[in-house]
Amino acid sequence: MMIVRIFLWVALAPLLPGLINKVKAWVAGRRGPPVLQLYYDLIRLWQKGVVLSTLASPAFVVAPAVAWVALACAAFLVPLGPAGAGLSFRGDVLLMVYLLALARFCTAWAAMETGSAFGGMGAAREVSYAVLSEAALFAAMLSLAVQTGSVSLVAMLSPTPGAGTLLLAAGLFIVLLAENCRVPFDDPNTHLELTMIHEAMALDHSGPPLAVILHGASMKLLLFAVLLTAAVLPLGSLSPLAAASALAGGVLLVTIGVGLAESFLARFAFRHVPLLLTMGILLCLFSLLVAWKGGAA
């Protein structure tokens, strides 16, 4: 069971970016890269050698690994519909959120290692915007907790859809885009460096560490997709099979949604980014208020 769960997370994660790119290509009327492109990249990078900046210390290589572990553990805490979570206890939701923070810490620390201007820039942007997205995430989690009267993910993520659900979905979707550096916050496949957040931090990485970073990113995307789906769909009330398929469908939907967003939206100027994030916070806050007031009945 445990093995299957890990396999699911590790193996399926890189599928999402591929799907997103497919959707974008399809919208643009191109053929686009194969869906499995990221797998190929990862395998290739895993065999490559590493070029290490003269300024960098071993931490430069170790940090991505720690970040990956943090993300993996976070994913481990997220329940997969009927399958439940790998580990579930009272307050695990907080651990999950802070594991994401740990991953961020490691990536940013590594980015500062080389002393490259882009590393600093990317790290600065990442940690600064995280302030807003984390507030939004917490508001969302609070509203789920209030709605379900529980503080453990398994219970929180099988809500009975309430008035606030749509708001919550919208808010979480914005958080998803921001946390995974998707358009309109960032353009994952641009190489106009000045516009990058996540890529800017990964600039100086190469070989296996880069592979680990890319895989971690895809896992994070999957995590948020699952979170969003489970937060919205009443999986608890469905039969296991239906729930599983609903979850898969939901994740697929979210992925396509991201792809569509990327094809129809342009990247925002950086000064607009906080605006959008604040909107995310407000959406989550409203859902929280709805849960707070509505649930009282």
Partner: protein
């Protein structure tokens, strides 16, 4: 020299012995069922000497002893007689006095003696901060500390006098029939020491200009005495109904604003000082929730909140002192606290860098370290409160969200600090010529770092102590529920193990694939110069931009223009807003008033007699108006 060396050794031994005894006493109380109590056979100031150490006092006594010992050890290498003859010896004396007085503050259970110990402790702090009183900025900072601390002390004089008047005795203990409004007085008096927003005005300059081991004890332990006072009397007095909400509000404000200011600092020690404001805020959020729970039927989540607050008292003491020791080593090695003049110290001082990184992760509340454990408890309390949907608990919702963003800001601030100081290339010559500090300074850091790790990986160990303290704070919670860390602890340990393993494997793999050293690629710059690195100012730019109004930042910007632009400037200064925008103008007004008054003392005898006559007339009028009815 010989004598001073001997006296130094003797004093150190004395300190260690004292702190050890204190630590054992505290642990004895925390792990045992009953309190330690001693009543002296003589009177001081007409009151019988009476010491009591209960759970709450013991919780606070532990960091006093730990940091007291570690700091004394650190000072031996950091502030030795050879560098600063005279002031080193004075420093040792005041240090020991400070530790002793803090111990007394925590144990004394008589209002009059409490005031005495309190003021003595404050004065010791003053003399430690101004050890190097030849530097004017140190004197300025010291005076600001002294002034604010005295303002607090006077409030406490009023508080204890009122308390004694209502309770009919100076003896301290749970009291029921006193007006709840007294709590506000205590909150202000102790708050001036605790340094939550906006009572923090003295804190940044004092902690930045003090010798680093003093900063460590002031920031890690001394301000906790203020927290102790609030916790203690929040527990003993009948508090007003809205006390919980107010304390939570203060906490949230301190948390966010404190860390936002920290983010914007360029002076490493000022950054750490502002970060202390944030952590006091975190503690207050927990305390406020607990107060709320206690005023509304001792809900169980209150126990989690207070436990988290008390645990955070320990954690903050540990990692903040660790960070200040690190800052001290950097200062010692490079002679500057300005991050924009540092960089790349990781290569020359790997150990300091490592310890600092650990401290940074801990203060950012990241698993699997101790910072997370404490905040986790507080969050749990807040979330549980939220799930009750009780009307009075509304305050926990904004508190939780603000606490989260404060955590994210802390992460940003410490990525900035660590990155600017230890990573990248040295920005100046002194930074390039830095050297690792000796074992005398590294050992204390190691001890504190180990403590941070242990609490993080095995929180189950400390739970009994914390629960005991929570129980003695509010007897209703005495029967401790089973440790909430049952799953979290192992999970954290596992996380640590996995991370270590993964890191090791990845390093192996990279080595196997072949590891080439090369210039930083940075999109193909051939010769990246240190000046090209991101600066601390630009790193903080985004956040500073959000808080621009709140800070009242001062900005000077000259864009380059024309085909041959001459030098362009961008200067930005983040003031200590409350101090420079509110307090100092008021002070200036009063000074003007006093100069006006002094101009009446101009030396002309005729006018002096005129004043006398005026006084006579005024009093006469006053009396006859008073006496007519």
């Amino acid at each position: 020299m010989g004598t001073s060396a001997r006296s130094a050794r003797a004093s150190f031994a004395f300190t260690l012995a004292g702190t050890l005894v204190g630590l054992l006493a505290a642990l004895g109380v925390l792990l045992g069922p009953d309190d330690w109590e001693w009543t002296g056979g003589f009177l001081v100031g007409g009151e019988r000497v009476h010491l009591r150490l209960d759970g709450v006092g013991a919780i606070f006594l532990v960091p006093v002893c730990v940091i007291g010992g570690a700091g004394a050890a650190y000072a031996r290498a950091y502030w030795p007689d050879s560098d600063s003859p005279g002031s080193a010896a004075r420093g040792r004396a005041w240090w020991n006095a400070l530790i002793l007085c803090m111990g007394l503050v925590l144990t004394i259970s008589n209002g009059l003696h409490f005031l005495i110990a309190w003021e003595a402790f404050a004065l010791c702090g003053y003399f430690l901060i101004t050890l190097d009183n030849r530097r004017p900025e140190v004197r300025k900072a010291g005076w600001l500390y002294l002034a604010s601390s005295h303002a607090g002390t006077l409030a406490l004089m009023a508080f204890f006098t009122l308390l004694a008047a209502h309770a009919g005795t100076w003896e301290l203990g749970p009291v029921r029939d006193v007006p709840p409004a007294l709590f506000w007085l205590a909150l202000f008096g102790f708050g001036m020491k605790a340094g939550f927003f906006p009572c923090h005005i003295w804190l940044p300059s004092a902690h930045a200009n003090a010798p680093s081991h003093v900063s460590a004890v002031m920031s890690g332990v001394a301000i906790k005495m203020g927290v102790y006072g609030i916790v203690r009397f929040g527990g003993w007095l009948p508090v007003p109904a809205e006390a919980g909400q107010v304390v939570i509000g203060l906490g949230a404000a301190s948390a966010v604003l404190g860390i936002a200011f920290a983010m914007a600092q360029n002076d490493l020690k000022r950054l750490l000082a502002y970060c202390s404001v944030e952590n006091i805020g975190v503690i207050l959020i927990g305390l406020g929730a607990a107060l709320m729970a206690r005023t509304h039927g001792n809900a169980a989540w209150g126990q989690l909140a207070i436990a988290g607050a008390l645990l955070h008292v320990w954690n903050h003491a540990l990692f903040k002192s660790l960070l200040f020791f690190g800052a001290g080593s950097v200062l010692h090695a490079t002679g500057t606290r300005e991050m924009s003049r540092l960089g790349g110290l990781g290569q020359t001082m790997p150990w300091t860098a490592g310890f600092f990184a650990l401290g940074a992760a801990a203060v950012s509340g990241l698993p699997p370290l101790n910072g997370f454990v404490g905040e986790w408890l507080i969050y749990l309390g807040l979330f549980d409160a939220a799930t009750t949907r009780a009307g009075f608990a509304w305050a926990v919702l904004p508190a939780a969200i603000l606490l989260a963003s404060a955590g994210a800001l802390a992460l940003a601030a410490f990525i900035k600090a660590g990155g600017m100081i230890f990573l990248g290339a040295p920005r100046t010559k002194p930074a390039a010529q830095a050297h690792e500090c000796g074992a005398g300074m590294l050992a204390p850091m190691g001890v504190l770092a180990a403590a941070c790790a242990v609490i993080g990986l095995a929180p189950g160990l400390v739970w009994p102590a914390i629960a005991r303290a929570a129980g003695s704070w509010n007897p209703a919670w005495a029967h401790a529920e089973k440790s909430p860390f049952a799953t979290l602890g192992p999970a954290q340990a596992a996380l640590a193990a996995l991370a270590a393993a993964a890191g090791f494997l990845l390093w192996k793999k990279s080595r196997a694939n072949g590891l080439r050293r090369g210039l930083t690629w940075d999109c193909g710059y051939r010769s990246p110069a240190p000046r090209m690195q991101y600066t601390s100012g630009s790193f903080a730019g985004i956040v500073a931009g959000w808080f621009f109004r709140a800070f009242g930042s001062e900005r000077k910007f000259r864009r380059p223009h024309g085909p041959f632009p001459e030098g362009s400037i961008l200067l930005e200064r983040i003031p200590e807003t409350v101090l420079e925008r509110l307090v100092e103008p008021a002070g200036a007004a009063i000074t003007r008033l006093s100069h006006a008054a002094l101009s009446l003392q101009h030396g002309r005898l005729q006018s002096y007699i005129l004043y006398l006559v005026v006084g006579l007339a005024a009093l006469g009028a006053f009396v006859f108006l008073e006496a007519k009815p």
